[in-house]
């Protein structure tokens, strides 16, 4: 029997919030959560008591979890979730919140990702990231995902003939997008020479292949269509979503992600085809993983992303706009908020609120998530297709 999942007809996403990023902050993660919540309330006209649910993602709350945050910020909730899935957090949070609202378990759910970045935060987080990382990665000097993505990139280049220039084109296009996005931490254009000659980090990766950790927050609200109309806020419809974890564990090295298993279901449920997609937000902590998402979501075949990148212009005014706010590579990676960056930007795009980065006539966008290098590969994959009122 063909499996058919319920749709999201009566539930919407609204009030995308991006708290400006800073390279370092002396504030705690709770400060960024509070600031995001406040912005959600101001943007919606809701009161704090109207929030019935919270779906929180953060790496730097320790020793707290979302539970501690309820008391810390005086939130009395009837629905609470903590999503420790890094770059897939926004997709997964969205999925959980949509069902909570549709079922009536919570009328309004705030999805928030927030992280601080002290001078030593990143290093401290690495040592306790996962058991496998502590046992089998950190002792090799490769704290953090740099080495893991260096392996993937080197392998991908060797097997599929990708060139540094291909990844460079993607990074430069994102930087161009970022120059039109007010919150981006990188404010200068990037040239191909600068990209190619940047200092090496973990060969073949160089400086501009790697995200810069920073502090910040991203958030949005999930509520019923009726409630959104009542509040008078712009909202986006969710056409379809997917998620997968630890797909293809037998692959010797990660060359594909869980999107591949569900992509046909994703487009079928959304009732759209690839060419209907006006922009793509990938999870882009390194360019190779953006290439993999283009392939596994079906915009091109396996190993064809380099050619796809060569054939398209990827800026907001291009033939295939990617990471329209500049992505993490040019905006910064505010911990778990990095997983939300594409989602808030996509909501702004389809609701006509993207301002400088607006893709002309953007109606339908695809947001992809990827997260958690537990040992040698990212384990969480997800995607969502959003549509604006004009779609």
């Amino acid at each position: 029997m063909e499996r058919r999942r319920a749709g999201y007809e009566d539930v919407v996403v609204a009030v995308p919030v991006s708290i400006p990023y800073v390279r370092y902050s002396t504030r705690g993660a709770h400060w960024f959560v509070a600031r995001a919540l406040r912005a959600l309330l101001e943007g919606s006209g809701l009161g704090k008591a109207d929030l019935e649910g919270l779906c929180l993602s953060s790496f730097t709350l320790a020793p707290d979890t979302a539970v501690g945050v309820t008391q810390h910020l005086g939130l009395s909730l009837r629905w609470l979730d903590h999503i420790p899935m890094g770059g897939a957090s926004a997709i997964v949070a969205l999925r959980r919140a949509l069902r909570a609202v549709a079922s009536g378990d919570a009328a309004i759910v705030a999805c928030v990702a927030a992280d601080t970045n002290h001078v030593d935060t990143f290093r401290a987080t690495l040592g306790s990231f996962s058991q496998f990382a502590r046992d089998a990665v950190y002792p090799y000097g490769s704290g953090g995902p740099n080495a893991s993505f260096a392996f993937l990139t080197a392998y991908y280049m060797r097997v599929f003939g990708a060139r540094r220039e291909d990844f460079g084109k993607l990074c430069i296009a994102q930087r161009e997008n970022a120059l039109r996005y007010a919150h981006a931490l990188f404010k200068m254009p990037l040239t191909i020479q600068e990209y190619l000659n940047a200092r090496p980090i973990a060969e073949p990766l160089r400086l501009f292949d790697c995200v810069m950790p920073c502090a910040g927050a991203e958030a949005f609200l999930v509520m019923s269509r009726a409630r959104a109309q009542d509040l008078g806020v712009s909202f986006a419809n969710v056409l379809a979503t997917i998620e997968r974890h630890n797909s293809f564990p037998e692959d010797p090295i990660q060359m594909r992600g869980g999107w591949l298993l569900d992509r046909e279901e994703l487009f079928a449920q959304a009732g759209v085809v690839r060419r209907d997609i006006d922009f793509l937000q990938t999870y882009d902590d390194y360019p190779v993983i953006s290439a993999m998402q283009m392939e596994d979501l079906g915009f091109c075949g396996k190993g064809e992303a380099p050619q796809f990148i060569r054939e398209h212009s990827l800026t907001t005014d291009g033939t295939f706009p990617v990471n329209t706010s500049g992505g993490q590579l040019s905006v910064g990676q505010a911990g778990a908020a990095g997983g939300f960056l594409g989602m808030t930007e996509a909501i702004r795009q389809v609701t006509g609120a993207a301002q400088g980065t607006a893709v002309a006539n953007a109606r339908i966008g695809l947001v992809s998530g990827f997260g958690m290098i537990n040992y040698d590969r990212g384990l969480c994959c997800g995607a969502a297709i959003l549509a604006g009122p004009k779609a």
Partner: protein, 421 residues
């Protein structure tokens, strides 16, 4: 990355001695199985007896069938280097001091993919490699991919010429060695073996330097060898040698021992036992107090840092051999103290190597049947153990057999030894 092994430059004495930093030490308990095997120079992975899956990283259950009864089994380490990187940046202070650093992903023929250090002799990916397990400077297992072409030597020569991986072994090459008793047949054999292995200086301790044996005088004619006065039963003697040499010794070989046969009933009184304890146990304590702190301070002192402290123990330290009962007791005491010393030296990255030989072919084991180990064979095994980076060394067939029996069931071994087997 692959600096040629040539002679290290003489250290500028005005430069600050590097603070001993260690690679990350934290491991889950289940991952320590890898360390336990590496301490014996073995590369073992978890194997599921139910479905045959070999897995890595170590887990609490089989990731295929969820069986909880996993066993650690020796692996050939054969596999393919599928991707590699050179790190130019690390968040870890130990590695930050040692950039650039080459790492690889290795797909073992038996299934799992491993992250490993790459030896400088390994070709560009893809290529065949072999994984070996070594103890890193923190005393924890680290996996190293070496070129598959090296199939004879267990890592010694190939490891020695990699400037980074030299830290994971204790190669005597270009190092200064103190042998605490140079007078015995073993002491002479050790002295010669270290000279042959490329040590810069070997100091041979002699309790009564005015009474040299013919053998020692011959050894002393070797250019690198100097005989020094050292009586490990005399606190002042140990102290004054410590003051003179402590800051120079890179490898200390504590081979001074007293061995008298018999257990309790066959030798009345405590005199023999007292002299065994005075040398075998208290001698170690005296040495550790005078040489330990200064060797700890030099644990990260560049290419020729203080690197190892070797104790000559005995398989009898694990379980008493009743016909050599008081000797067994003194070695058990020394073993326990050596574990304490190991814990104290570990924070400085100085490895305490315990050697557990079976009976030596010497005057005190005349009544035992062969096989007995010659002084030359034991000396060679100790040098190789240091080159291989082993922490617990069971040289020779007898020692290996005792180890296997002891690991299988210490109680059964005790019963067997009680009836003299």
């Amino acid at each position: 990355m692959s600096e040629t092994p040539g002679r290290p430059k003489r250290k500028n004495p005005l430069l600050r001695t590097r603070v001993p930093l260690l690679p990350p030490r934290g491991r889950s308990r289940v991952a320590l199985g890898l360390t336990a095997a590496a301490a014996l120079g073995r590369f073992e992975l978890q194997v599921c007896p139910e479905c045959g899956t070999v897995q890595y990283p170590p887990r609490e259950a089989c990731h295929r069938c969820l069986s909880l009864d996993l066993v650690w089994q020796a692996q050939s380490g054969e596999g393919e280097l599928i991707s590699e990187t050179v790190l130019h940046h690390s968040h870890d202070l130990y590695f930050r001091d040692r950039m650039p650093w080459r790492l690889g992903m290795v797909r073992l023929d038996c299934g799992p993919t491993l992250l490993a250090h790459l030896h400088c002799g390994v070709a560009v990916a893809p290529c065949r490699v072999r994984i070996v397990a070594r103890l890193d400077k923190a005393g924890q297992a680290a996996l190293i991919a070496v070129s598959g072409r090296f199939d004879i030597c267990e890592g010694a020569a190939e490891m020695a010429d990699d400037i980074h991986l030299r830290e994971m072994t204790c190669d005597p090459r270009c190092r200064k060695v103190l042998v605490t008793d140079g007078k015995t047949a073993l002491g002479q054999a050790l002295t010669r073996a270290f000279v042959a292995a490329g040590a810069d200086i070997v100091w041979a301790g002699c309790a009564e330097p005015w009474k040299r044996s013919a053998g020692l005088e011959e050894v002393e004619r070797l250019e690198a060898v100097t005989v020094v006065p050292l009586d490990v039963t005399n606190g002042d003697s140990v102290k004054s040698l410590g003051a003179a040499l402590g800051a120079k010794v890179d490898i200390l070989i504590n081979n001074a021992e007293v061995h008298r046969p018999y257990g309790i009933a066959a030798r009345y009184g405590t005199e023999a036992a007292r002299s065994e304890m005075d040398v075998n146990y208290l001698g170690l304590l005296r040495l550790a107090q005078e040489f330990g702190p200064v060797m700890r301070a030099r644990g990260a002192d560049g290419y020729s840092s203080a690197t190892a402290w070797v104790n000559l123990l005995s398989v009898y330290a694990l379980s008493s051999f009743p016909t050599h009962g008081t000797y067994s007791a003194s070695k058990a005491a020394a073993y326990s103290l050596a574990q304490c010393l190991r814990a104290e030296m570990q924070s400085a990255g100085v490895r305490v190597v315990n050697v557990f030989p079976g009976p030596l072919d010497d005057e005190w084991n005349q009544e035992l049947p062969p096989p007995k180990m010659s002084a030359q064979a034991l000396a060679k095994a100790i040098v190789k153990g240091l080159q291989d980076g082993v922490e617990d060394l069971f040289p020779g067939e007898v020692a290996q057999e005792w180890l296997a029996r002891w690991l299988e069931d210490p109680k059964i071994l005790e019963r067997e030894l009680a009836i003299g087997r």
